[in-house]
């Protein structure tokens, strides 16, 4: 009622501009799910007042407060309901230096496909070496509600500081999920069928504890990479940081048996980023062929000297769920030799047809590579295409699919080059990706003032129900060591 009373009126004396308005986040000509929360935005025209008129099938609404367009959540639901499969036309008016301007209208297309209700991400400063407060948060995309799944500050002290990372879910559900804790109270928190356990995945036979995870879709198995990771700093390059693996392998963790076995530990190969096909019969991963040439210096030193030579290709191995054996390893995308590129973070679509990955000139940590973009391979035709609608001039990484396969989410640094934000894009039935948009926030200036990154965004069809306090209690317990099993 209050909103209705204060609803702004569209100026009648506005001078027409031929260009689109500058709005943030950029929601012009995007395709959105009908169940998403309001796309509030700020008009960056130096205006004292703004008005936005939303014209949708069967009605129109106006909004505007100072320089922001804040849409009532209940009204937005009505608009979405009416616009499903249609579009909303947005006319923006801005009062600049006392005179109203009318900008070229833009459309917001409302897809008939819904989006998974939840996403989760790690909230972290664009970190270098130090870490203090880290949390894994879950966000309800149908509202602005955001909650912490786990905050490391619930157990961290100055001397037991804790890093948390790599949250992962089985089939987009949260009754089987995991994340890692490093340093203080280290271990991997694994939830299996709702039961929380803390496991130490490091064995004497493996390189490290599990790092990048991938839940098998049908079995109680998790593929991990194991990595020896280092970090160094560019003195001038705007990429600023290089994160490199001096060694990396792949392992398989049998959740039921609490056993770790090695999938691949080839010399001169840096295997990483495992991901399963939806039927669980193929394991995709990335690997870089890298031969150390100088025994007189440490591997870390040589890696720093030759960091641009490290380029990952995309591989696939067959997997027999019955015997748990891998076979027929083959490279399916040679990015290094043929293109001089490096492929990371592959993710297979829920229908098994496509595989998304992040590609840049070199290395494995594309979140810090401005040239990193999202590419997609059609696994039927083996054709690779760059998803221009999803990409920007800055880094895109961590691509992932929604459970329906109709939505893609990526980590993007397009806003400012330094802080990653989750962007969502529609992926239609014809295999075409549409323009990506930032996950909406109640305050459209939120991303400007929020000085942390959203890392590794993942879709979930349900929220994590284990409370942060329950995770904290378990975190303080000793981790159960995993056993090593020969394959």
């Amino acid at each position: 009622m209050l909103i209705a009373c204060n609803r702004p009126t569209v100026p009648t004396d506005a001078k027409q501009e031929s260009r689109l308005p500058r709005i943030y986040p950029d929601y012009t000509e995007v395709t959105i799910p009908f169940n998403i929360c309001p796309l509030n935005f700020a008009v960056q025209e130096g205006a004292s007042e703004v008005v936005a008129r939303l014209t949708y099938p069967g009605g129109e609404m106006t909004y505007g407060k100072d320089q922001k367009v804040l849409i009532d959540e209940e009204e937005w639901k009505e608009i979405m309901k009416a616009s499903k499969g249609e579009s909303i036309q947005v006319d923006v008016f801005a009062k600049v230096d006392g005179a109203w301007k009318a900008f070229k209208p833009f459309n917001i297309y409302v897809a008939e496909d819904s989006i998974d209700q939840y996403i989760s991400y790690r909230v972290i400063q664009p970190s270098y070496v130090a870490y203090e407060k880290l949390s894994i948060n879950q966000r309800d995309l149908t509202s602005f509600d955001e909650r912490e799944i786990y905050s490391n500050m619930s157990v961290s002290t100055e001397s037991t500081g804790q890093c948390i990372n790599c949250h992962s879910y089985k089939n987009f559900k949260t009754d089987n999920m995991l994340f890692h804790m490093r340093q203080g109270y280290g271990g991997t928190m694994i939830v299996t069928d709702g039961e929380l356990r803390k496991i130490d995945l490091k064995t004497d036979e493996t390189l490290s504890a599990g790092v990048y995870p991938a839940w098998h879709p049908t079995q109680n198995l998790i593929a991990f990479s194991t990595n020896k990771t280092g970090q160094s700093f560019h003195t001038k390059d705007l990429n600023k940081i290089e994160v490199q693996d001096t060694e990396s392998d792949l392992i398989l963790y049998d959740v039921d048996k609490n056993e770790v076995s090695i999938i691949s530990e080839l010399d001169d190969e840096l295997e990483v980023f495992p991901t399963w096909s939806p039927d669980g019969k193929k394991l995709y991963f990335c690997s870089a062929h890298f031969e150390y040439q100088n025994d007189s210096i440490a591997k870390e030193t040589e890696m720093i000297q030759r960091y641009k030579e490290v380029k990952y290709d995309l591989y696939c191995a067959d997997f027999d769920p019955a015997t748990k054996q891998f076979s027929n390893v083959q490279m399916i995308y040679n990015a290094s030799d043929s293109l001089g590129q490096s492929v990371t973070l592959p993710r297979v679509s829920p229908d098994g047809r496509y595989i998304l990955f992040a590609q840049a000139e070199f290395g494995c940590f594309h979140v810090w590579h401005a040239d990193a973009d999202i590419y997609m391979m059609d696994l039927k035709t083996k054709q690779v295409q760059k998803l221009d609608a999803v990409n920007s001039e800055r880094s895109e990484s961590y691509p992932t699919w929604s459970s329906s396969g109709r939505w893609i989410m990526v980590d993007s640094r397009r806003d400012d080059g330094n802080y990653t934000r989750p962007y969502i894009a529609y992926f239609d039935k014809k295999g075409k990706a549409h323009k990506a948009f930032a996950v909406p926030q109640k305050d459209p200036n939120f991303y400007t003032f929020f000085l942390r990154s959203f890392n590794r965004p993942e879709f979930m069809v349900e929220p994590v129900t284990i409370t942060p306090q329950e995770f904290a209690k378990k975190a303080k317990e000793d981790a159960v060591p995993a056993k090593y099993a020969n394959r």
């Binding site: 870490y131 500050m153 002290t157 390059d237 960091y307 003032f449 904290a472």
Partner: protein, 626 residues
Amino acid sequence: MLIALAVTVAIAVLGGYYLVGCNSDVLFMAQSKSYFTTNPVFLRECMQLPGGFISWVASYLVQYFYHPAWGAGIMIAIWVASMWLSKLAFKVKGAWMAVLAIPVVCLLVSMIDMGYWIYYIKQTGYWFYGTVGYFFVMAMMVLHSSLKRKKIDRIITTTLVALTYSFAGWYTLLTLAYIAVMAIADNLQKPAQPEENLYEEPKRNPLLGKMVIVLFPLVLIGVVPLFSYQFYSAIRLEDAWTTGFPNFINDKMVSYTPEIPFMVLAAIPLIFPFLPKEKDLKGKMVWVVYLVTIALMVASYIWVDKNNFQNYNYHAELRMYRATEEQEWDKVLDEMGNIPGNASRQMVLMKNIALMNKGEMGTRMFKYNNMGEPPTNGFDTLAVHMVQTAAPLIYYYHGKTNFTVRWCIENSVEFGYNFDNLKMLARCALIGGEMDAAKKYLDILSTSTFYKDWAQDLMPITEKPELIKKHHEFDTVRELRDHMGTVLDGDNGLCEMYLLNYFSNTMNKDDKLLQELTLNYAMVQKDIQLFWPRFFLYAQLHQGEEMPTHYQEAAYLYGNLEPQNVNISNMPFDAKVKERYQGFQQLSQSLLQTGMQPKEVGEAMKSTYGDTFYWFYFFCRDVHSY
């Protein structure tokens, strides 16, 4: 009343003197290392901890230390208000104002005893947190005491206080403790009046009622944090009772000394309810009050003075940091010239930056005391690292903007974002051409009270990058950065060592400024092999110009030490350079022949030759970078 006013004035004077008179530099740095934005994101982040609202208000007020006298004035006004509120809340006669002033004295001590913890404190809004918290406590106590006639009122106000836990954390719990103590005092001082409680049946056991009034707030102290813990995911259960109490702790040690004022502050109001009331102050008791007042005032003065951290280098560093940041190079050099003992390495580096910007490295670099020692608090074992104090600024002026960004972020991760870091990040983004990042930082600073103008002055560059050329404050940094290559490396947390190694091993013939820096750092490294090629390159780039004294001194010294490497016989050294070298050698030899140790010889020769490269080369030893 006269005593109350006198104590109030004394507190104001004491606060004014020690805050503004002795610690203006500290207060300015305090606001520089703090953060506030009107955007709700910051409030939301504050509220993730119990007591978050106090953090938010305190952070707002800390901004006023930009003008130290303004901030101090606000702070003292809140202190005075708190004293008078406590008088009102506990119904204390004005004669006891000196006792009521003790918590305020604690707050004063907590402002000036920090030492190098100023760089390491993690509590958001620390500098005003205690002040706002204590004011909140006393305001709540006034509310409670004004409504406490009936037991039900006491229960209601106590419950209301408990509900403020998420806003005031530790200070809510303190308030509950004082309510309990006040109830005890009330029970001791007067029997229960039947008319006091309309809700209580006359036949009910009055002791039970008294116990409820005392125990209720105590139970809430135990229960409220326990219950609230379910809503806070970013605190440990065991910390739920102390969130808001400042800790001076890092991964190596805990310092309890700076916590003492807060412990005393918490404890002292527990005696307020037991101070003799007005009717008791008769005859000799009045004189007791006078004596207590004088004794407390004297003791307060002694305590404050004793805890006032007056390490010369600490304050000089703060002043030099500000002058360096504001490019007041003469001020930097004046501070360096006035240091009574050895400087810290941070000060030496800031001196180098000032000389570089004035183009006087070659003539004045070694005229200053280049000895350096790591800073210490004295009262604890806090290990101070330059990367956490001034490294972002030092890297910036060496053109190493990526390293500035790195340490701004690293330090923000550990100690929170602050205005100083955001300014550095904005500058680096502007210089690096990252205009969207620069706009982000400038947008944030534009919502601050005192950095708004600074941010808005630079904002046009984000739209028109070429405008940066009109901002001459960026000139030398841009020049150095533009002429550097990019490599992948790291500083291992040692800023000075990294800079020395990087620049002394760099050869650059494209830029005079960068080239001269490489020559100077080769001289600081005392590496003859590194020196000569950079010396000759300098001579080549500066043909027709006078060779600066220090470079002549180094060349003359190295030519004499290792004549087989370079023949200096044809070099046109100034007569004074040669003359002083001869004098230096003769004096040092003669002193050594007397049996003096080299260190003693160095000290003996300092007044005569301490301004030469010769002295630096032979006697500037045992320098510890940190």
